[in-house]
Symmetry: C2
Amino acid sequence: MLYPTPIAKLIDSFSKLPGIGAKTATRLAFYTISMSDEDVNDFAKNLLAAKRELTYCSVCGRLTDDDPCIICTDETRDRTKILVVEDSKDVSAMEKIQEYRGLYHVLQGLISPMNGVGPDDINLKSLITRLMDSEVDEVIIATNATADGEATSMYISRVLKPAGIKVTRLARGLAVGSDIEYADEVTLLRAIENRTEL
Amino acid sequence: MLYPTPIAKLIDSFSKLPGIGAKTATRLAFYTISMSDEDVNDFAKNLLAAKRELTYCSVCGRLTDDDPCIICTDETRDRTKILVVEDSKDVSAMEKIQEYRGLYHVLQGLISPMNGVGPDDINLKSLITRLMDSEVDEVIIATNATADGEATSMYISRVLKPAGIKVTRLARGLAVGSDIEYADEVTLLRAIENRTEL
């Protein structure tokens, strides 16, 4: 009886999203009612369309609306390099800097012994399949600098190196704009180990 | 090209909600894709239903799916009291404490001279209409304890008092559980002015 049924149901839907508690869900639901009919219709349509039209690229595992995705089918890209990331958002972050012009491979997860996620639970086998009879000469590992990211990176390099493929990973060091005073010890250690000549 | 079109559109829809920036919208959109078909369908359906089925009660101005709303038509409620609030969420907050059994009037806004909102821009005229030939003997003003809330409260009491209607407002004082040390000066002033005998 607290809220009319239609709004109670909408609050419930908003509450299912991550990081949205009961109060925020209520605020969002009430705001939605004050939005224009067109905006609300578009919102509902976009929800259904995103769920219906998006799929994972059968080559790289990236979230896409075309299969294979536009990166995999782009003939202008450098086919000798594959950059390996955890999820599709990382591809977008990488594309934003407009520096890397090779291909991608999206793992859709990380190896996490603590959570019982092994190499067979992520999109890793297809990477190895891709590397057979391909022109790839370098695999760049760009997993997060976390324990799971490091474990995944280590595993991939151990599997690929014996096959004679060059495996690299993103540099570790001080983030641009950060203070040495507040850097954690491991970051500082990596920064001094990997120091570069000026 | 950063994101496939369906997800870019969904991110755009989420960004239109208050307090949701580009990063949160992206996170929510990606999360939506990982939700079950049923949850996403419900979400879309609830959005449309809330927008389509909800209306404002023609008596009290509250957001409702029945007109007049279930509070206005509830014969067991005390018809001699009207509690005046800013919006429909305040009615729900009040109903939660299960203490007040009278009627409500929702202003759908507050008088705000700073933002050019005058008495004619909120749902106030209908309150005065309601009071004519009714059995109401007390109007309880429960607007927020902010500048706009005070201005609205003052305006309503000036309009209604000459008509011989008793006008009261919610008590001002220390919030339960709060520290005197951290209370602001105006709150302390109100708390000492309105001190009660033990």
